[in-house]
Assembly symmetry: C2
Homo-oligomer: 478 residues x 2
């Protein structure tokens, strides 16, 4: 066990922060509630971005950039929206040495200013659908900050689309939910449950909110991404209208959807262990670290290091990027050098000592299992590829099995309460209650309805009202 990392069993919150610190992923900023994303963390974000951005572009979306500042009058145009966001907003009151006539909000999300621009750009049915996305920073003032999970400023993408019909907008909402699920499961190895949010958990101003819900390794839930069908709420507030084929003016139907740097927190709390960070191979910026080891400086410099660099070059070419690093921290002990890469979540450590050289092998050590494989040096590329794939599959399956072990069905509210208290995790129960009922459940159990899974359309007796309800997952959540 790492001495610089608290065990998960001792203190999960401290473990999480220790993992981040040991991997140098982020640090607190000298601004209340804000973080600095350090290179190890940012490289993970770049990798996550690339996967999502490719998927957005493949589904016909284009990127754009809208202003950071939003006139307060815009926020006020959609009643639920301003009610939801006003308490978290940061406000610019002065600029260029003068007090502003109207203060600006630093964007907490951009439905309003994008709605304003769409009303200027959309005229005819021929202009639809409009399928845009932006990658940017947003600010929601946070009283209880937590690195990556809740920070006053965070990075995210927000997709905003406008359509001619409700059907098309709903289809888009669900299509992007599926894009999210696919990238989360296949690239980030994060098993998620796509589902609909209950009324009490909807995005302020949305007609329907969908979510991908994940389970962290302490059995708490984390909302990994959301997709909203906004109906005509924002179209009416911002006059986003188009002339239909019959020449009549109609309001558009809009959607929005987002994922954020919070996913880095999700990834840490899903895969990492008491030794530190574990990164999914498809996300890891460094997929393999080659560590030449010898007590003989001459051998290190003139034999092992050139060979390590040669192997790194071959691997980088085979993997299609600068994914291999060569460790040259010769002033450290081998154990400390191993730990350096281990704590940064590097999927494979490739040890190259004199004995390995003599035997024509490289010792490959997997980050997830610690399993060692002595690969023939001339078969290193296929071995590395195979081990990376196996690790990707393993950490996904492991997380999925963990979630299944910690998912229980409850037939009554008492049963749900008992499960939440004793075992935690996800509780499946029929629910058809109101937003008030949701508040009561949260106050009494600490749990909230996470989602109504899309895969389960069954109905049954609501554990609160006794009336018909839908199968809903409840859990304590981040």
């Amino acid at each position: 066990m790492a001495r610089n990392i608290t065990s998960r069993n001792v203190n999960y919150s401290q473990w999480y922060l220790d993992v981040i610190k040991a991997a140098e992923m982020a640090d607190y900023a000298p601004v209340r509630g804000c973080m600095v994303i350090r290179p190890t963390g940012y490289a993970v974000w770049e990798s996550i971005q690339r996967h999502f951005d490719d998927a957005f572009k493949k589904t016909g979306h284009v990127n754009a950039y809208f202003p950071l500042l939003i006139p307060y009058s815009f926020l006020n145009k959609e009643a639920e929206h301003v009610e939801g966001f006003a308490p978290e907003v940061a406000t610019v009151t002065h600029a260029g040495g003068e007090e502003l006539e109207e203060p600006y909000a630093v964007r907490p999300t951009s439905e309003t200013v994008i709605g304003h621009m769409y009303s200027k750009w959309i005229h005819s049915w021929r202009d639809l659908p409009v399928l845009m996305n932006q990658w940017c920073n947003v600010m929601r003032w946070e009283k209880r900050p937590r690195l990556f999970l809740r920070t006053s400023e965070f990075l995210w993408q927000e997709g905003h689309t406008a359509h001619a019909t409700a059907e098309e907008a709903v289809e888009e909402t669900l299509k992007m939910l599926e894009v999210y699920r696919k990238v989360m499961e296949e690239e980030i190895a994060l098993p998620v449950i796509p589902g609909e949010k209950t009324a009490g958990e909807r995005f302020p101003g949305a007609a329907q909110t969908y979510t991908c819900e994940a389970m962290m390794s302490d059995t708490k839930a984390l909302q990994a991404g959301t997709s909203h069908f906004l109906g005509q709420n924002f179209a009416k507030a911002f006059e986003i209208q188009f002339q239909n084929k019959a020449g009549e003016l109609e309001y558009c139907w809009t959607t929005s959807w987002g994922i954020s740097t919070r996913l880095i927190g999700a990834l840490i709390m899903t895969h990492s262990d008491d030794d530190g960070l574990v990164l999914p191979p498809r996300i890891a910026p460094v997929k393999a670290a080659i560590v030449p080891i010898s007590t003989d400086e001459n051998v290190l410099d003139n034999v092992l290091l050139p060979r390590a660099r040669e192997l790194a070059g071959q691997l980088n070419e085979a993997l299609g990027g600068l994914y291999t690093t060569v460790d040259t921290q010769f002033h450290l002990k081998p154990g400390d050098r191993f730990f350096y890469h281990l704590q940064r979540g590097v999927p494979l450590r490739l040890e190259l000592g004199e004995k390995d050289m003599a035997a024509g092998t490289v010792r490959c050590v997997r980050r997830d299992t610690g399993e060692k494989t002595d690969a023939a040096a001339d078969a290193l590329i296929p071995t590395v590829k195979d081990l990376l794939e196996k690790m990707q599959d393993n950490i996904y399956s492991r997380a999925k099995a963990f979630r299944e072990e910690h998912t229980t069905s409850a037939d009554s509210y008492d049963e749900m309460k008992a499960i939440l208290e004793e075992k935690g995790g996800f509780v499946k129960a029929y629910f058809g209650g109101s937003a008030e009922d949701e508040v009561r459940i949260r106050e009494e159990t600490g749990a909230t309805p996470r989602c109504i899974p899309l895969s389960d359309s069954s109905t049954g007796k609501c554990i609160i009202t006794g009336k018909e309800g839908r199968r809903t997952i409840f859990a304590k959540a981040y």
Copy 2:
């Protein structure tokens, strides 16, 4: 000539705005001095980003993210820095429903907050050099905004590095200047003059500022990117210290360097013409637009369109990306469809009509020269590659020749004044004056010293003081 675009000769400023509007690159935001970067413009920015980011990573830099907000007390720590930026700062005074104890500045640049973090992270000579970059938005309140060139918010990258010695930091400053030059000239086809700024034009807080200066098609200069040697100014203000090999504490030597969305303005004003935007092929998000043309709907849908899509697929594969588009705006006249792509700066238009099909050819039309080539369909890939390369070379050479035509040497201040008035452009003259002399020249001629070219180390009699001066380029500038 395009009816929606004012001719450059009639009104250059209006031409610039008309080109942006016709290409749908950007729009004014409902926030004073801010812009919205529309998908055509943003795709160009993504392309520019990719080229620079690759070059930064190849030279060993890593990306990170620092907070948007900066405590005012930080700005105050470096006297010249705060003097330079305070008048342009936007200020957050309220957040989370409360007035803040200390107001925050929305970052105009991040030397201060990054300096603060470096002081926490850097301890030993082993931690050096630190080579970081961030891509982000910054805010400098602008009284006379102009799309892409001067907006209150803009996107940029800012590199920040820390070194053990002055020599290393100067080397880094010049290395990044050369990275800038290379990407600007080879990818953006922007001829630039790398040089040093005079004292009056330095970045606030820098010991030396270097620049890449470009000439726009109205002969005015544009600073396309800058690289600063900051000496120990910020290291002393923020206590960025390290223990050297002898165990003594020393201050680091730091650098910073940046390019921004301003480069999109530079690109427009260098290459575009009275018909609209011209994009360098290596930057263009869409490199070729295939336009199937027929008056027969059946032929369009069943013969030409499938063939166009087939060709697009082949071209995309050969070009290594989704760089080809198929025009399906069949409700428009062919001329309007041609104009659509032309005004968006698409380097090649590939016309595919029934006659072309019958002859087994595709008509390729270059955006820069209008030149038409009937390519055999089975040789389309090499023809397209060849035409794109020729266009890339041509627009670079054309811009460089234009700059040379509009560069004049002056031996006296009177001569310089006459040239600036009659001909404009770049004026080369020996200059060794003070910052006060620079102010006087600007007031009297409208021109400023743009740079002392690195390629010219000659000295001569200063046109102002008569003492020894260095060869300096003067020009009116954006």
